[in-house]
């Protein structure tokens, strides 16, 4: 039995018809056409579908769509302002972290949510924060380096007061 679900997606209110058994990932990709969250394992293991839900990184394949009613969802699509990339995105690019790129949107979201809560992390803390995101090209080192660079201010201040800070 489908029902209308309303929530905030990248700052915009959206209404979409969802079935009770659909996941947030399916709704984002198949119904709303945002394909930046990837479906890697559909089992909560790989992290490719990570989005920010009410300020926290979550795996969208583990979230039942009806439960996001009224909540705020951010995907990688909502991070950049116009042509300008978010510091995390720019850092990943400059450090050559993405190889095949499949895990990258998930890494971006996990790293962004983590830095908002913990702006000055240690290398170990970054590794732990990204431990739920698998990269089969094994670009882990460069991802950690890039996040470290952002936390050191190399890529400018993280945007504040955006929809991410709910």
């Amino acid at each position: 039995m489908s029902e209308i679900l309303s929530f905030y997606l990248n700052g915009n209110p959206v209404e979409v018809l969802v079935k009770p058994e659909q996941t947030l990932l399916e709704v984002l990709r198949d119904d709303l056409g945002l394909t930046s969250p990837k479906c890697g394992c559909n089992h909560g293991d790989c992290g490719a579908c990570t989005v920010i839900l009410d300020g926290k990184a979550v795996k969208s394949c583990l979230v039942l769509a009806p439960t996001v009613k009224g909540k705020k969802v951010i995907t990688a699509d909502g991070l950049c302002s116009g042509e300008k990339l978010h510091p995390i995105q720019q850092a990943f690019l400059d450090y050559g972290a993405p190889q095949c790129g499949y895990c990258t949107p998930g890494m971006v979201m996990a790293a962004t949510a983590f830095l908002l809560e913990n702006p000055k992390p240690t290398r170990e803390e970054i590794k732990e924060a990204l431990s739920g995101n698998l990269c089969r090209c094994a670009g882990y080192d460069k991802y950690v380096e890039a996040v470290l660079a952002v936390s050191n201010g190399e890529f400018g201040l993280l945007p504040e007061g955006s929809d991410i800070n709910v």
Partner: protein, 288 residues
């Protein structure tokens, strides 16, 4: 094909009203980190003919995500997420063992949605929060249409995925008595993060002048449910907590477990490592 339905009651009255209709199978939803992948799998491959329709009832609007305390106990709401527990000052002060255990559960983005109540009701023999709750003598509060009842953690689980809770009973709170002793947790997984336990164990020790006064030991992932290790406890009680005594007592765990071969490890291997993990849990409990 099986139909799916969803309700999200914001009061127990509404919840029990919804429960009156017993034509459908009921599934209570907390964080969903275990249920949703199962649902995904069911929709992708398992045949669903002849199965009753499934009513998914979201518990997150019942206000069960609080942590409170009084003089003698701490009360954790069942839909409190692992991240919320990890950051809570009451838990940091009273039960650091829970934080130690939670640090080793899955990864950050799963802990952000996974709840302690879900981990309990899921009743996996490998659940990482359960051994600590068992050694802390936690009490689980179940609420059904006929009222509430309290069940001790050590009597709660009856098998893999099975508990004493009836189909229409919801786990609402976890009550943990404040203790004077200290508890420790240790886990062996196949890797550091995002992994299910090969063996996990928790120990609670009260001691005087390094002599063990009270010992409660629980081990998981080596039997149909998490088990209390009475033989290990008996060997520790009244003894000095020397490396030798702890080692000897830990060895006794092999008499109390019945591990199986599965995707994570063989029964043989689990028997070999269970005493080591139990020993490390005891050691963690006496470091302070």
């Amino acid at each position: 094909m099986r139909g799916y339905f969803y309700e999200s009651p914001d009061s127990f009255e509404k919840l029990f009203e919804v429960l009156k209709d017993n034509s459908r199978e009921i599934k209570f939803l907390a964080g969903g980190s275990d249920f949703v992948p199962r649902l995904n799998l069911e929709r992708e491959q398992a045949p669903k003919e002849n199965k009753k329709d499934l009513l998914i009832i979201n518990l997150s609007e019942l206000g069960l995500n609080t942590i409170t305390e009084n003089d003698s106990e701490v009360i954790i709401g069942a839909t409190t997420t692992f991240t919320e527990i990890q950051k809570n000052d009451i838990i940091k002060r009273e039960f650091p063992v829970l934080i130690e255990a939670i640090n080793q559960i899955a990864g950050l983005s799963v802990r952000n949605i996974a709840t302690i109540g879900g981990n309990i009701m899921n009743a996996s023999p490998a659940a990482d929060s359960v051994p600590s709750l068992v050694v802390l003598d936690a009490v689980f509060v179940l609420r059904g249409p006929e009222g509430s009842r309290n069940v001790e953690a050590k009597e709660f689980f009856t098998g893999p995925g099975r508990t004493v809770a009836k189909e229409n009973e919801v786990l609402t709170h976890i009550i943990i008595r404040k203790n004077k002793g200290f508890a420790g947790f240790n886990k062996l997984g196949r890797r550091k993060a995002e992994t299910l336990s090969v063996v996990n164990a928790a120990a609670y020790i009260e001691r005087e002048n390094n002599v063990c006064k009270v010992a409660r030991i629980a081990v998981g992932s080596v039997a149909p449910t998490v088990v209390r290790c009475k033989e290990v406890e008996e060997l520790l009680n009244g003894k000095e907590l020397t490396e030798e005594n702890i080692r000897a007592a830990s060895e006794k765990v092999v008499d109390e477990i019945s591990p199986i071969d599965d995707i994570r490890a063989s029964a043989w291997y689990r028997r070999r490592v269970a005493p080591v993990i139990v020993r490390r849990a005891i050691e963690a409990a006496i470091v302070e």
